[in-house]
């Protein structure tokens, strides 16, 4: 069992986290015709908005209740009501996802009660728009928690218990974790459809944040999981949850609608994809289509070709728990070692399974300190790792969120046979672009070495 060490210091240096309400808004962006609304100051919204825009290079619908100093003292319910009415009038969204922030949560109000009153009082004006509340103070959690809470809130608010016989044959639910890309979701859909299954993916950022050019101005999200699809989550035969943080919504769906679920901690290894494909074959009663069988053979070959580059490499990863787990199991599966693992919270049970000696809860400052002197060959984290990579002179492969200094991150595949194949190539190519330099002095067998610890051949103490 991996040791998880909590944070010790007062000054966080170079944060690894993005905030919890950002994670919740992220999930609402995967709903068609949606408008996430931050209940807080306008800066809370502006910062999250700018970060989304920098990552996706898209206009992002995200609004604010714009609390001023008076509302901060007297209470924000009026602002919430006004914001809802304004949004309804201006954008007529199908769904408004209200995400609370640290500001209003520190004040502490009965948001659910206020919202219920607003919905009742303004029933006419707000008709036709679902309003979902999720409590996501910035002083707790990060993207993972926010996303998970938002999906759970969607289920709580929209899914009604179904009468027996309402099950739609061949419909399966897929609840993806936030760390899956647009391309990953498209791949999931195609794979399920190849078995004749109808996947209901919630949230579905693949239609909403895949960078298409609509032919008119749309103030809300376009694409994504329709509200009607979310309602029909309760009518599927099975739920597939991807990432430990999706256990909560999957469990909720199981409790309310009695749908069994299978949870995949990762889909970024051959073994886990095998289980996934087997599950689809069992659920559909169909044979595995030739296309998928061929993809598996391609992955086998990629693993064979790629493992040379991974063997013995020391890799440092900083990511949220499920993403960390997926990346760590992927690289260790090809013979690399996770020399440094940093994550955002100690609350996830998946952390104890991360194949590393220790998982440190911390920031990119801790990450940089740990990597210094650990003789790492590669850093895996988001774009904010660029400063550390530069100072340490170690290549950085950007993963997760935010990625603001590389294009196309949403179109990179990271799961299923194709995605793992791509990951193998991506990582191996970084190693090939930064080869170990051999010099005559370095290779001189008689040179004065002091001891045998020269980094690359050093073996971590287990």
């Amino acid at each position: 069992m991996t040791k998880v060490t909590a944070i010790q210091k007062a000054a966080s240096i170079n944060p690894l986290k993005s905030s919890q309400p950002l994670g919740a808004a992220f999930a609402f962006l995967g709903v068609e015709g949606a408008m996430p609304l931050f209940h807080g100051g306008q800066g809370c919204t502006s910062f999250a908005l700018v970060l989304f825009v920098r990552h996706f290079k898209e206009t992002i619908p995200l609004q604010t209740t714009a609390l001023d100093e008076v509302a901060t003292i007297l209470g924000g319910a009026d602002h919430l009501e006004e914001a809802l009415l304004n949004l309804k009038a201006r954008a007529n969204p199908k769904l408004i996802g209200v995400c609370t922030t640290a500001l209003v949560e520190t004040r502490g109000e009965d948001f659910a009660g206020d919202l219920a009153l607003i919905k009742e009082r303004r029933a006419c004006e707000l008709a036709g728009t679902e309003i979902v509340l999720v409590q996501t103070p910035d002083f707790d959690g990060a993207i993972e928690e926010g996303w998970s809470k938002a999906v759970t809130a969607l289920i709580d608010n929209l899914v009604r218990p179904e009468a027996p016989g309402q099950v739609i044959p061949n419909q399966i639910n897929i609840l993806p974790g936030w760390h899956l890309t647009v391309a990953d979701l498209e791949l999931l859909r195609e794979t399920a459809e190849a078995f004749g299954l109808t996947p209901n993916i919630v949230p579905d950022i693949s239609g909403a944040l895949d960078g298409t050019v609509p032919d008119r101005w749309i103030p809300t999200t376009y694409g994504g999981a329709p509200v009607e699809s979310i309602r029909s989550l309760g009518r599927a035969t099975h739920t597939i949850a991807i990432g430990e943080h999706m256990r909560r919504p999957a469990q909720r769906l199981a409790e309310t609608s009695g749908i069994p679920f299978t949870l995949f901690e990762s889909l970024s290894s051959l073994a886990s994809v095998d289980i996934f494909v087997t599950l689809l074959a069992q659920l559909s009663g169909r044979a595995v289509p030739p296309k998928i069988r061929r993809r598996r053979r391609q992955l086998e070959d990629a693993l064979l070709d790629g493992h040379f580059f991974f063997s013995g490499k020391r890799i440092a990863i900083a990511a949220e728990p499920d993403h960390l787990y997926a990346l760590a199991t992927f690289v260790t599966g090809l013979g690399a070692e996770v020399a440094v693992a940093v994550t955002t919270t100690s609350n996830s049970p998946v952390l104890t399974k991360v194949p590393a000696q220790e998982v440190r809860v911390g920031d990119l400052g801790d990450f940089e300190d740990l990597v210094t002197g650990a003789a790492c060959d590669l850093l895996l984290t988001h774009s904010h790792g660029r400063q550390a990579a530069e100072r340490l002179d170690i290549p950085l492969m950007r993963v997760g969120f935010p990625i603001f200094d590389r294009l196309g991150s949403q179109h990179r595949r990271t799961i299923l046979y194709e995605g793992v194949r791509d990951l193998v190539f991506d990582v191996a190519n970084v190693f090939q672009a930064h080869p170990q330099v051999h010099t005559s002095e370095g290779l001189d067998s008689l040179r004065e070495r002091g001891d045998y610890h020269d980094g690359h051949t050093q073996i971590a103490h287990h």
Binding site: A11, K17, S19, A48, V53, A83
Partner: protein
């Protein structure tokens, strides 16, 4: 206390917008009430952080839960000629337990200690935020104690988000510098031609295109605030003879107070545009001479201006033909609403419209003068309307900030960033040439023709007969490609788009056949002084 400060900052007598207001209007203050559900823009903390973060050797510590810093750090394009500490992010990242148990002040004190002992910066700036202000953390007291204990300046920046807009935060940041930093260091090399430049952010290092101009005249930049500034320079800024205010709305109060306390005269100017840059040099020289510098500075300045203008106009000349009748939409506000306008008109572009959201009455008057009878001024435009205007082909390019970038791109209209996230240096004479070059590259990029070409199928996926790619039989298409007689892509551009593009402004184009156009315009816009940049 905060209330007094807010009121006091609203009463800025040197603010041109304020001067145009009645006594009653002035008391109401300058921040417009926000509309919940329809608000845009950052908060006061955002503004304060933006205004100070480019100070390169200082540790900027944000006392807040995660989002204030965690969602926003390392996002500015200022450049440093040395220290890189400003790009390291420091936050107390308050957790629930810290807030519930009232541990905020203690955590802040410890954080200051950790930073002071590990990084040994010349100073630490501590920013309060909504939550830490709400729970009543006394950051002034913590900063004072920590400064004594660890022997370095620890400066409180009191600008919690809820007190106002980003611009108001800029002002609060200026207040902090005035109250706590300036005048704390006495340099031993004070000279008669030292100046400060206030509100210059050194985006993409653009101040480095301007600085040598001053140095050629023997003028020393004591402090450029905040771009590429070091703490000690700001602390010694009170010894300069003249202040130039570039971002007027943000730091004009600071300039006025420096005048009152240390007798430093100031003027507002801009480095955007050729005549604006010349005026900046001219006014600096004039004020320095008034302050006792050698009078020949004036002649030397004029000589430099003449030389640099001639060079810049010669470099711009080739673009006039390429820009004939090209229409530009400016969506930026403040001084750029006219300083860039005048520069673009100098080379024969037509201005479809310019946003005056953040402009002063004087800015607006300048626009009216520039654009003759038809000012095309607009206040903030809703994204939907902006999209409509662009999609209708009423502009050949939009110049704006990142916030509206994707509106232009989704409307398939060229776009150029002229706000803080941009990657090019546009200040000074060279900067103007660079801006024009970038506009040229953007407008004439072949990608526009390509993306405006309709797909060879209709909404149902049926191949459209009209589209050559679809109507040509397979074999002949291959032949055509080989034989190079494929119809030019331009013909595939949706005809309606071209029509819309040409229709509306067909008669209103600037007559750029006039050989004296440049000279004429140069004269006309000479003498216009400016302010602005960055967040203005």
């Amino acid at each position: 206390m905060m209330k007094d400060k807010v009121q006091h900052l609203f009463n800025e007598p040197a603010c041109l917008k304020n001067q145009a207001k009645s006594e009653k209007e002035r008391r109401v203050g300058c921040s417009k009430p926000l509309t919940p559900g329809a608000a845009a823009g950052g908060c006061a903390f955002d503004g304060a952080k933006i205004a100070l973060q480019p100070v390169t050797d200082v540790a900027h510590l944000v006392h807040a839960p995660l989002a204030c810093e965690g969602n926003s750090w390392d996002n500015r394009g200022s450049a440093s000629s040395g220290p890189m500490l400003w790009r390291t992010s420091f936050t107390t990242d308050l957790a629930e337990i810290d807030i519930v148990m009232g541990q905020g002040e203690r955590k802040l004190y410890k954080a200051i200690r950790e930073i002071a002992t590990r990084y040994r910066p010349p100073a630490i700036f501590v920013y309060s935020t909504c939550v830490t202000a709400l729970i009543g953390d006394d950051i002034n007291a913590v900063c004072r104690h920590a400064a004594e204990k660890y022997g370095l300046p620890v400066i409180p920046i009191n600008a919690p988000g809820f007190v106002g807009s980003k611009n108001f935060g800029n002002k609060l940041a200026g207040e902090a510098l005035f109250e706590h930093v300036m005048g704390t260091v006495e340099p031993d090399d004070v000279g008669p031609t030292d100046i400060n430049v206030l509100g210059e952010f050194n985006l993409s290092g653009e101040f480095w295109t301007v600085k040598p101009l001053f140095e050629r005249l023997g003028i020393r930049i004591r402090a450029s605030i905040p771009g590429d500034a070091r703490y000690a320079d700001i602390a010694a800024a009170h010894t300069a003879r003249v202040n130039m205010v570039v971002c007027s709305t943000a730091l004009v109060t600071l300039a006025r107070k420096m005048q009152e306390r240390w007798g430093i005269p100031f003027f507002e100017g801009s480095f955007y545009g050729i005549s604006a840059t010349s005026d900046a040099l001219r006014n600096t020289a004039a004020l320095l001479v008034e302050q006792g510098a050698a009078p020949n500075l004036l002649d030397r300045a004029e000589a430099l201006i003449a030389e640099q203008e001639a060079r810049a106009f010669a470099r711009l000349a080739p673009y006039r033909a390429r820009f004939a009748g090209k229409r530009v939409l400016l969506n930026t506000g403040g001084v750029k609403s006219w300083s860039v306008v005048s520069a673009l008109m100098e080379i024969g572009m037509e201005i479809v419209g310019t946003s005056v959201k953040k402009s002063t009455p004087e800015d607006k008057e300048r626009i009216r003068t520039l654009m003759r009878d038809d000012p095309h001024m607009f206040e903030a435009m809703a994204p939907r309307d902006l999209y409509k205007l662009l999609a209708a082909g009423e502009a050949d390019i939009m110049l704006s900030g990142g916030r509206t970038q994707f509106i232009a791109l989704k409307a398939k209209v060229p776009w150029l960033d002229i706000n803080q996230e941009r990657h090019n240096a546009y200040a000074g004479y060279d900067g103007m040439v660079e801006l024009v070059r970038q506009i040229d590259l953007a407008i004439h990029n072949p990608v526009w023709e390509e993306v405006r070409t309709a797909a060879p199928w209709d909404d149902e996926g049926q191949l459209t007969a009209a589209h050559p790619a679809a109507s040509a039989p397979m074999a002949s298409l291959v032949e055509q490609v080989a034989g190079d007689d494929v119809p030019p892509r331009a013909k595939l551009v949706a005809p309606a788009f071209v029509a819309r593009h040409r229709k509306k402004f067909a008669d209103t184009r600037v007559d750029n056949t006039d050989p004296n156009f440049l000279a004429h315009h140069r004269k006309k816009f000479a003498g216009g002084a400016g302010d602005d940049i960055g967040e203005c």
